[in-house]
Amino acid sequence: MADKSKLPVPQPTPETQHFWDATKAGELKLQKCEDCSHIYFPPRPFCPKCASKSVKVFSASGEATLYSYVINHRPHPAFDGPYSIAVVTLKEGPRMMTNIINCEQTPERLRLDMSLRVVFEDLSQDIALPYFEPMEASS
């Protein structure tokens, strides 16, 4: 049986705490530069495009498309059978790693550029992880 406690739990730092507070509350937060409008991830208190410290945190739409992935076939105690490790492109631009869930883990179902939406699941008492599921599956 899949045992999620076998996964290393992310440990927030002062610069990323707001992101993890938000996932726990069911929201995906990104940051935007108030000088050059660049939207970026992962969190940091300055813009990686222009070095401005004038940046704000905002709620992302949670919509994304599937950029690329692998299906891991080696056994992992936290998963039942082969599972996807994916990178998605958020509607706002940045990319992030995730697992595609609520979807058959096959190349036929996991189509590049398919539409996805974020879902959150608790990994520990303090940390909820963002995952992505197909738009069409639950609509």
Binding site: S68, V70, N72, P82, Y83, I85, R95
Partner: protein, 381 residues
């Protein structure tokens, strides 16, 4: 660096490669270092600069009994040794030292005397990639490739062909771990590790080491071996997180490092007789061929499929030791790519490329995180 000002005068691997359960990691460094010193006809007192990765240069200096005036511990993964060669060239030219020893040793298979290899859960990769069930390089290095396939129209058959052709080179190399010829069907039907990659498309996991000795080109003529001149060098880094690599079909670090090396060398791609591209997985030669400018974007799959990199007449012999897929892969393979370039330019390779004069050796560190490129020649270019 100043083209042609520095030469490799000593080069050797560990006496054994493969499974070496009777040697700790630091001893693998030392075994390779002593072999390289013997190759160059030098003693410990002659070495005044050291560089290494995966092991502290302090540990190395103390273990070998060297008192250096220049130290480099740049550790950016498997291409660290390319960066060491580049930094050593600059240091020798600046007069910081005269004779540099670069070592690698890794008990990748046996794990003897090897430090822990685990990221912190508070690092950015730990926070934003660590909890998705990744199992190291097999599930991160490989992620970009489905996007590359869709962008370029490259096929899984072409990916398999990389492994097939490199096995043909390995079949001519008695030190290669895998020497049995294989086929596209066999590679594609092998056990799936991380779709779309099968076991034959993932590197070996072995024990071994290697070492290089560099000095000024002026002094190099007095050494017992054919000098291998450094004619161009490049390095760069992009990101520690595969998810943050800007373009999954092209490596920025490869492009920056490759261009810098070609500019320094002042050579054309047609001048190149021999090429090494660090192949931890079978897709890496595609990225290397394209990002270094040997192929146009998306054309590397067909280039390899058409046997342009194969033995017996290929115009651009590639990974002639068999590569990380068939020769050996300890974890930080860059040193073995450099060793093969040196052998080819000395005319001592197992699968010798006829009349090889100019070799490009391109390394990757982490998962497309870093890159180093060294261009070498056996005469002043």
């Amino acid at each position: 660096m100043k083209s042609n000002s520095i030469a490799i005068v000593g080069a050797a691997e560990t006496t054994e490669l493969g499974t070496i359960p009777d040697m700790s990691q630091i001893q693998l460094h030392a075994d390779a270092a002593l072999n390289a010193m013997s190759d160059a006809g030098l003693g410990l007192k002659d070495i005044d600069g050291i560089a290494t990765a995966g092991e502290s240069p302090v540990n190395l200096a103390h273990y070998l009994g060297i008192t250096p005036t220049w130290v480099d511990g740049t550790g950016v993964g498997g291409c660290s040794f390319m960066l060491h060669v580049r930094h050593a060239a600059a240091a020798i030219n600046e007069g910081l030292c005269t004779t540099v020893l670069v070592t690698h040793g890794e008990s990748g298979r046996s794990g003897i005397g090897r430090g822990a290899y685990r990221g912190s859960p508070s690092s950015l990769p730990g926070q934003f990639e660590g909890a998705y069930g990744g199992m190291g390089p097999t599930t991160s290095f490989t992620i970009p490739f489905l996007r590359y396939m869709k962008d370029t129209g490259t096929t899984l058959e072409q990916l398999a062909m990389v492994a097939v052709v490199q096995r043909e080179w390995a079949a001519r190399n008695p030190r290669a771990k895998l020497q049995q010829l294989t086929s596209v069907e066999e590679v594609m039907n092998d056990r799936i590790i991380a779709y779309p990659f099968t076991k034959s498309e993932c590197c070996l996991v072995t024990d071994g080491g290697g070492a290089l000795i560099l000095t000024s080109a002026e002094r190099a003529k007095d050494f017992p071996t054919q000098p291998v001149y450094i004619v161009g060098t490049g390095e760069s880094v992009e990101t520690p997180m595969i998810s943050q690599m800007a373009d999954f079909s092209s490596s920025r670090a490869f492009k920056v490092s490759g261009k810098k090396a070609f500019d320094e060398a002042g050579i054309e791609h047609n001048d190149v007789d021999h090429l090494m591209i660090y192949d931890a997985f079978a897709h890496l030669p595609f990225y290397g061929l394209e990002d270094l400018g040997f192929c146009k974007p998306g054309e590397a799959g067909a280039f390899i499929e058409d046997r342009n990199t194969a033995p017996d007449g290929g115009s651009l012999p590639l990974n002639t030791n068999g590569g990380g897929l068939s020769y050996m892969h300890s974890g930080m393979y860059g040193m073995y790519a450099l060793q093969e370039s040196v052998r080819q330019l000395r005319g001592t390779a197992a699968a010798q490329v006829e009349d090889a004069k100019l070799s490009v050796c391109h390394g990757v560190g982490g998962m497309f995180a870093a890159s180093g490129t060294i261009i070498m020649a056996n005469e002043v270019v």
